[in-house]
Point group: C3
Chain length 260, copies 3
């Protein structure tokens, strides 16, 4: 039996503010193995919160990049032999250096071998797995509920962060719901991928992966809401969310974060 | 001798509106083998009209992606060994599943081996080949005219869609000219590539490839005109065309489409 | 001992205007081996000043692309086996065709093998090496000063262009400082990379690589300043700098260029 403890709204919002402040003050290096579609947008999201992104995939160099970084993202979109080899080396380096890492199993619901590979990676203990409802269903063999998320996180000893209209984050004990965001976030490519990169960045400044993941999804959700207010559609939204992330301050985040 | 039948303007504009409505209502999966420069913009164009893009190139996965999609794009920009192998598998899967596909032979006028490969692909019967004047000249060994386009389409049993100030679309019998668009469309990378992806999307909801290609070029042309009205240059144009595609409605399309 | 000659401000600004006018009037082909993150933005920067970018990496095609181009960029971001092979062929073709080329040794300060490869490339005599302070320090084994830059340029017989709050350009004899630009240029990915592509473009229309590099950095710096005036953050800045490059005229460039 699971006994989820709800986190207090104020606590969680304050933690998010604190994490954002740490992101702003350190020039964190975040290495990203991510898909070709998302690389540029992801780099700009990380830069907007004060991080230094790197995106190299080559087998010869990736150990050095990961070893000199503070967090790692592994995103399975446009996965190929080069990214598979890069991931093996990067996860090895992250484990050796006790670097936290995030897995984003993009389209694990579309293709069998990708789901298999995602499961192998989850056995390597990412700190957080961020994914959508379909991907959660494909990997956990159960549709999303509080119980299935708690059980999946607990049995795999990971934090699971499921994006949707309301984001659900759990470490198997605690559970949080973030209800920020805007429907335009699903109308532009790479927003989810960049959200996972932001989770990785937050892991680089916060030792508790449950708090880090919750903060990251609140930060990008609030930036998304603010961006939507100034947008004429998904094109201008993609521009505005970078602007909003860049100027997001703690008082705005604290006032708008809806974490329960 | 060719006896082209002009399509009535009203018919063609109404068909385009009907095709746009179908795009909006179905969540069509469009798989794209496209160049590294165009992947992000292409994904956003497809999302803006309601499709679900995928961009994977890996030999292990591409059969699954194509088989579970409704249309395929093969774009030869930044072509390499990985994309060549992906294309072989993807075209095989498309043929087996009777999935319509589009060929965009980017820069076939610049490099001999690319023109050769484009010709081999045309023998595999894409539904539509979308290209510019120089690429048409390189592949057909003739400069563009109504006669040369009709003849090339007819002898290869494809629809040819040649972009330019006025777009020319023919299946060897019928011929259409779309005179929408704006010069800024040539000042930003990937607009042509994304137009080809939109042709693929329209093929997924319309069985007549001549009508599908005509509709796609009218849709992106009208969106381009509307975007240009609000732009300060190519940067803001690239943003605005995504916004305009996203909110383009049938009455605007019908009022502005110039198809003869 | 070095005896740098300061270039007169007026001379340098007029030279930059002249180079911009030449860029606008010729449809220059610039081939770019560049990182995956920067490809799209780089293509749009080149298009904005009137060039035709190409980005192909495949071993089979790159000789043809370089041979039919007027300038070449080699950027080491996201470097991998494919780009390494492409670079070998491209530099060979550039040398054979007396095509000027630019090296941008991205992150040569982060990884040893990359620094080694950058040094090998510098021995192949790029016309210009454009890099930041950390990369200069890693490659020259000395921190940046007028003397260390002059000495490094002179002993390698290259033009060195070091970006920073003030850009420093030297061919070992002459030295120029460009103090245009805006801090937002460092908050968006690929601006530096695109600046290097612009240096390559200027080399295609100006035989003196010192003047070409100085002009390119003044052009992108002035466009950056103008863009910052209209921006709400790095997202809108990335859009505005493309717009500003596209409409930058000689009188604005001449009035705002700060070259000493």
């Amino acid at each position: 039996m699971h006994h989820p403890q709800a986190t207090s709204r104020n606590d969680a919002a304050l933690a998010a503010c604190d994490i954002l402040a740490r992101l702003r003050s350190r020039r964190l290096r975040v290495h990203c193995i991510t898909n070709a579609v998302a690389q540029n947008f992801t780099a700009n999201v990380l830069l907007a919160v004060g991080c230094i992104p790197s995106m190299t995939l080559s087998a010869e160099e990736i150990d050095s990049f990961v070893t000199s970084a503070q967090a790692l993202l592994v995103n399975l979109g446009t996965f190929d032999a080069e990214r598979r080899e890069a991931t093996a080396i990067a996860v090895e380096a992250a484990t050796r250096n006790k670097l936290p890492w995030v897995l984003d199993p993009v389209f694990a619901d579309r293709v069998k071998p990708r789901a298999t590979f995602a499961r192998e990676l989850i056995d390597r203990r990412p700190a957080v797995v961020r994914l959508n409802h379909s991907e959660f269903a494909a990997l956990s063999d159960s549709s999303l509920s509080h119980d299935s998320a708690l059980s999946y996180a607990s049995s795999n000893r990971i934090v699971v962060a499921v994006s949707g209209e309301t984001d659900l984050i759990t470490d198997g004990q605690r559970i949080a719901a973030v209800s920020n965001g805007d429907p335009l976030m699903a109308k532009i490519t790479a927003v989810g991928c960049a959200g996972s990169a932001l989770v990785a960045a937050c892991l680089g400044v916060e030792a508790d992966p449950f708090r880090a993941a919750t903060a990251a999804l609140a930060i990008i959700g609030v930036a998304g809401e603010l961006a939507a207010e100034k947008s004429n559609g998904p094109g201008s939204f993609a521009v505005a969310i970078i602007d909003r992330l860049h100027c997001l301050d703690e008082s705005t985040l604290s006032a708008r974060a809806r974490i329960s």
